[in-house]
């Protein structure tokens, strides 16, 4: 009987193997099937949006790093002094991980949720809401990672990478993407119209411009610095910058922890909301 359940491959036998587990009601352990689905879908629909994410930070790097950078000269961030291009490069990387994750987890997820009814279909199979949340967020992480790899190659060609710590920018970009995708998806699952999504999008530009992307936040009064430091993009930029400059310290651990916590909260909220939307 047990042996049969282990070797048999019917859908029921597969579900039975997990039936006793604590999370059996919300997770089947097949979040990767969403990656399969999204990869197949990429061929036909979102390829261009995916590419934009590669190109955008490179354009910013050239225009600001070398155009504006020629006027500015070097930037001093505490003890180190670096070229302006090297100063903004890690920030652009963090921002592109954020943008890709937000785009995926807001507009794409909303469309799948309400128009394509993709999640309805998934949840009429033995997949659970946690699979769907993990799958979509995992997809955003892959996107973040691929942007990071692409951008790192470009940055290296421009001679902007100076330390092996830079390689850690790839997992860092994934962590940023994880947290933004988890928060983005949980907010999207609460929304009932495209207008509300536009509001979310509305906050992205100020976040991008004022999170210390193009200048150190020491330009702000103290109280504003505290507020900015609490926002996720600043946390991401502080993390990528310290990796790019090889500054490995407790603050870096703090950023990592920050993203793990808000990512986990977003994941939890998304799972509960998907359950309420599709299994209630």
């Amino acid at each position: 009987m047990i042996l049969q359940a282990l070797t048999s491959t019917t859908a029921v036998a597969i579900a039975q193997r997990r039936a006793g587990l604590a999370d059996a009601g919300i997770r089947s352990g097949r979040a990767r099937m969403l990656l399969l689905r999204n990869t197949l879908a990429l061929r036909t629909s979102n390829a261009l949006a995916f590419l934009t994410g590669f190109v955008e930070p490179v354009l910013f790097l050239v225009a600001f790093g070398y155009g504006v950078g020629a006027l500015i000269g070097d930037v001093s961030d505490g003890e180190q002094s670096v070229s302006y291009a090297a100063f903004i490069a890690p920030a652009l990387l963090a921002a592109s991980a954020m943008n890709g994750a937000i785009y995926d987890s807001t507009f794409n997820v909303y469309f799948k949720m309400h128009f394509q009814r993709v999640y309805q279909a998934m949840m009429s199979t033995s997949l659970g809401p946690l699979d769907v949340a993990l799958g979509e967020i995992g997809w955003a992480m892959i996107r973040g990672a691929s942007y990071a790899v692409g951008f790192l190659v470009v940055a290296t060609l421009f001679g902007l990478t100076t330390t092996w710590w830079s390689l850690l920018l790839i997992p860092a970009a994934m962590l940023i993407a994880f947290a933004f995708a988890a928060i983005g998806m949980s907010l999207t699952s609460l929304m009932t119209s495209f207008q509300q999504l536009n509001w979310l999008q509305f906050w992205m530009l100020p976040l991008f411009l004022f999170s210390g992307t193009f200048y150190p936040i020491t330009a702000y009064p103290d109280w504003l610095q505290v507020i900015v430091q609490a926002t996720p993009l600043w946390q991401g930029i502080a993390m990528t910058r310290s990796l790019a400059f090889g500054v490995i310290d407790m603050a870096l651990m703090g950023h990592v922890l920050y993203f793990m916590v808000i990512g986990a909260l977003g994941l939890l909220a998304t799972t509960r909301r998907l359950n309420a939307l599709f299994l209630r």
Binding site: T10, V12, A41, Q120, A121, S124, L127, L279
Partner: protein, 325 residues
């Protein structure tokens, strides 16, 4: 978890669906709690084909979604294949094939990928799925559309694809919510043919429909739902016999005359139903009654004698026609 059943009326040891006082009320912001399913009992045995007949808003889809373990009941008991959907949703869904009222086909994928990826959601392996997807494409007669995008399919093709997709996990219970609504007669007959074949393989079918001919064709047993309640249950023939009689005389007198004529029809047939556009007389002997009408000098503009159908049962039980006219 196995559940011991109180001996049911139908005597199945392990009914596929077993519901007692099953109730669902939706909490809405605008109109308070909406009681969509109101304390219904259901019992469906293995291999049966079972129908739920009802007008718009009767609660058919709500019932189907509770059975499909994607909607939680408000109260009552529900067991699907011996499992409680409240606690074992994914396990139950692994047994099921679901054809929802509105298609949920993945428009980013091709026809073939729709079936394949759906099978992967159940955890089936690529090697196992490849021949099965091919068989299902044959079954749905979509082999030549295999690499087409879903958007390019006709309504009937989409419905066939949805049915094919619902079979990818070899379900023992297939839930079809209005499988043929919106299809032309030819497409409906093609679908019926596929469903007949499935029935022969022992799959339990539960379907909802507005169409009495569909219910008569496909269902061995059915319930009639009205406003969230079950108002009748039995085989199509049994329901017609008990609620409608043998024959129906349909006469039209034109909108103005209709009401004047009604009193003059007294004594003809067993029961009279006055609709806005026509009068129905339920009777055992239609021809004789029609002669009597003419003999009384009531000269209808059109007259028709036909066998009683489920449509009449529905009208009798709910005071409404099945398909909104």
């Amino acid at each position: 978890m196995d559940v011991a059943f109180p001996p049911g009326r139908h005597g199945w040891l392990c009914p596929v669906i077993w519901a007692r006082d099953l109730t669902k009320s939706y909490a809405t912001k605008t109109s308070g709690d909406v009681l969509a399913v109101d304390s219904i009992d259901l019992e469906v045995g293995p291999g049966e084909s079972f129908g739920i007949l009802g007008a718009n808003g009767a609660g058919k889809s709500t019932t189907m979604r509770m059975i499909g373990a994607t909607l939680q009941r408000t109260s009552g008991e529900l067991t699907i294949l011996g499992h409680d959907p409240q606690h074992e949703g994914p396990l139950i869904r692994a047994h099921l094939g679901v054809v929802p009222q509105q298609d949920t086909l993945d428009t980013d994928l091709t026809v073939r990928e729709n079936i394949y990826v759906y099978g992967r959601y159940f955890g089936l392996s690529r090697a196992e799925l490849q021949p099965r997807v091919d068989d299902l494409l044959d079954f749905a007669q979509l082999q030549d559309k295999r690499d087409a995008k879903v958007d390019s399919l006709s309504g009937g093709m989409k419905r066939r694809l949805t049915i094919a997709r619902s079979l990818v996990n070899e379900p023992s219970l297939l839930l079809l919510d209005e499988p043929t609504t919106g299809l032309d007669p030819q497409a409906r007959h093609l679908l019926w043919d596929r469903l007949f074949r499935l029935r022969e393989t022992g799959v339990t079918l539960v379907l909802t429909t507005h169409y009495m001919d569909e219910a008569e064709q496909l269902c061995e047993r059915l319930v009639v739902m009205d406003a969230g309640r079950i108002v009748a249950e039995g085989s199509p023939a049994h329901l017609i016999r008990t609620h409608a009689g043998r024959e129906v005389v349909e006469v039209r007198f034109g909108a103005q005359r209709s009401n004047e004529v009604v009193p003059h029809l007294a004594g003809i047939g067993q029961r009279t139903e006055v609709l806005p556009d026509r009068i129905l007389l339920y009777t055992e002997a239609g021809e004789a009654d029609l002669h009597e009408i003419v003999a009384r000098g009531l000269t209808p503009t059109t007259a028709l004698v036909r066998r009683a159908s489920l449509e009449d049962v529905f009208l009798r039980l709910t005071g409404r026609t099945l398909v909104d006219e």
